[in-house]
Amino acid sequence: MKDEIAVRLNGITKRFGSVTANDGVTMDVRRGEVLALLGENGSGKTTLMNMLSGIYFPDEGTIEINGVPASIRSPKDAFDLGIGMIHQHFKLVDVFTAAENIVLGLPGKSSLNMRAVKEKIRAISEKYGFLIDPDRKVYNMSVSEKQTLEIVKVLYRGADILILDEPTAVLTPQETERLFAVIRNMRADGKSIIIITHKLHEVMEISDRVAILRHGQYITTLETKDADERTLAEAMVGEKLSLNIERPKPEGLVRRLEVSELSCVNAEGVPTLRGVSFTAYGGEILGIAGISGCGQKELLESIAGLEQTVTGSSVLYYPDGGEPEQLIGKTPREIRSLGVALSFVPEDRLGMGLVGSMGMTDNMMLKSYESGAPVFLHKREPQQLAESVRDSLGVVTPSVTTPVRRLSGGNVQKVLVGREIAEAPTVLMTAYAVRGLDINTSYAIYNLLNEQKKKGVAVIYVGEDIDVLLELCDRILILCGGAVSGIVDASTATKEEIGLYMTKIGGAESGTSGGDPAMKGGDKK
């Protein structure tokens, strides 16, 4: 049983326009094993699995399921073959209940018997140890509940081959442990589980074998017990990389931004920030960690003047000792017109920060288009800026007028960061600056941030990878449920410590006290 092949991929190729996402991938998955599919962002992991789950159809190559050739043209074909995929972005209907989501798309009698459906859901939950309320609406669920629902949905359909696309990206360390326990239960039940991930320690912890993709090509499959993180990382990126991110010593720390008791409510009246206080210093990188949706976005947007319902204060101190400026209550435009240089890289690069159909030049003038003589646009300066950003950051684009939507994720990010840095900010806030970027581009971004730090800019870095936060930042502030649950010194803190703060709701008191001394000691370091 153990060595039987459940899935065999043979020379799978998939192209999108001129981009080749998968190039002749040949690999297999055994029954009753956990296979980790490892690769950098953009290495084609998700595309490959989407062909197994019927979202895409391969341009070339064949697929065999349990030794039988299969043509998977639709998700329905995939279900019929016992393949179920849990996507990174949950495929759930918000206004439906858990049970309705589970029964969606299934064959059966034309009238629905919801009671029988709920019975079966309870049976599955008991077997594997899930906690799920079949009548709960999805829009009321937490991220971890939604993920549980996705897995139950797949099991309800009798899947034997489960594909999980970066399942831990949105979970706390504790939730991750619970998920891994369920995965082990399923493996013991003889199911094949494919986990897409780029987190090496998780690969080591959960998988039996590791298959590695690089730039759309299959590299190798290793027994996990024969591998270690370093060999995996090398196989993944294909070149020797320094695992250490440069962290220059913070110098000449001066108070730059003082935030105190910042609170904010969203459109539904639910608090998103609860009395956040911290100080950001010029010459350091302050990391902000937390499970996604814990107020990171709102915090940055409040400071940038993009949130309407903010109370509390955030005061900007000028490097030259000028009159401090209260930022709360000002619009983004007012903040700029007061000469306050506050730069902000929003979370969603194209949705917020750039205009996809415009070229680099037009995007460069997004914040400055109003300058100069009235009525008409002045394109010469933005064009020069665009060219200098392109040349200095190595943006790959046919021309500065090519719509930025056509550029790759890394290049888009460079355009955005380049524009923000060009404003010579005193505070530079970035959110998920390296999301979706390959390792080399990520390091280029880290270098840019470090350069700003050396110039005396107060850099605020919202990140999701704790390892990076620990290596890049000087201090890390952890948000949990909209409140500060801790501020730690990044050079001494451990991953577990941060993981605990991430789940400690309302634990502000002990947390902040751990952070402030670290700061006061900043001058001594």
Binding site: R73, M352, L366, V375
Partner: protein, 364 residues
Amino acid sequence: MKADAKREPALRLVKRDSISPARAVIVRAVAIIAALLVCGIFFITVTDSSIIEIYSAMVSGTFRNSITINTFFREACMLLIIAIGLAPAFKMSFWNVGGQGQVLAGGMAAAMWLFYLGNKLPNAAILPLMFVSAAIGGGIWAIIPAVFRVKFSTNETLFTLMMNYIAIQLVKYLRISWSPIHALGMIQRKSGSLPALFGNADGLIYVIAAVGVVLMYIYMNKTKQGYEISVVGEAPNTARYAGISELKVILRTAFLSGAVCGIAGFLYVSAIDHTISETMGGGYGFTAVIVAWLAKFNPIFMTLISMLISFVRSGSSEIVSRNTTTLDSSIANINIGIFLFFMLGCEFFLNYKVVFRGRKDAKK
């Protein structure tokens, strides 16, 4: 194995990165010819004419003499003016389908001067007043839905539609209360008629349309306000981030959009109809939506498409006039509908490439 291979999709779609201008012209030309063919076949089935008779009638109906040529250009200009009015709103993702209502609102505002002061003021005084109030009237008609869109995100598509009917009822009311006896006639006044230019009564319409096209092109592509429209339309979050006031831009653009349609209403009142009626602007509100959309808001393309549609209209009415017993003027609407569907459909072939089974799409 063989059976499975068969299940590979027979044809798939591949998105094009870009298309060469020459190819784009060919695709559009094929669509226009196909539409002309379908229209021709349609005419053959409803008349007894041959295909050559049909097409020659369409051409001669348009270009036979100075009157038909004039009508052709005038109708194209009116459609064009409404389309360039709607374009900035669409570019801002504001679905203004209330062109008809805005034309009427502008027409009412213009006719008001004509009715009350048409015998008292000279042309030089009343025409500017009519022009400005028509622009304001049309602008107000468009800004009302915009306010609700900004404040409550109310669906502007249906709102602007309903504003059409409110305008229609207002016109009906005014027709009865202003002119109880001559309800259907012209409002005959000494002044308030657009003077002829170079001996052509419609001359100023051409000038206004041409100036409008140029101004709108500059406005959309070269000005700060045009830039703001692009940002708000495509990336509202980016606009918020950049500190562009969405409220201000949407209200301003909606007003501008309505104002241009209002000016079209002014032209109907002062140069074409010399009265108001609820059929003024004859369904151009919707046609103009499609014109603006097909032209991707490019005023130059809008000019070409407006002329094409005007040609179909005048050609159709010529065939109707030769078969008055069996056909009526609504046939033009069918032909325009056929044209619009072909033009809409051909957009697909500009953006996508169809790949057949077994053929490798190795090259772009």
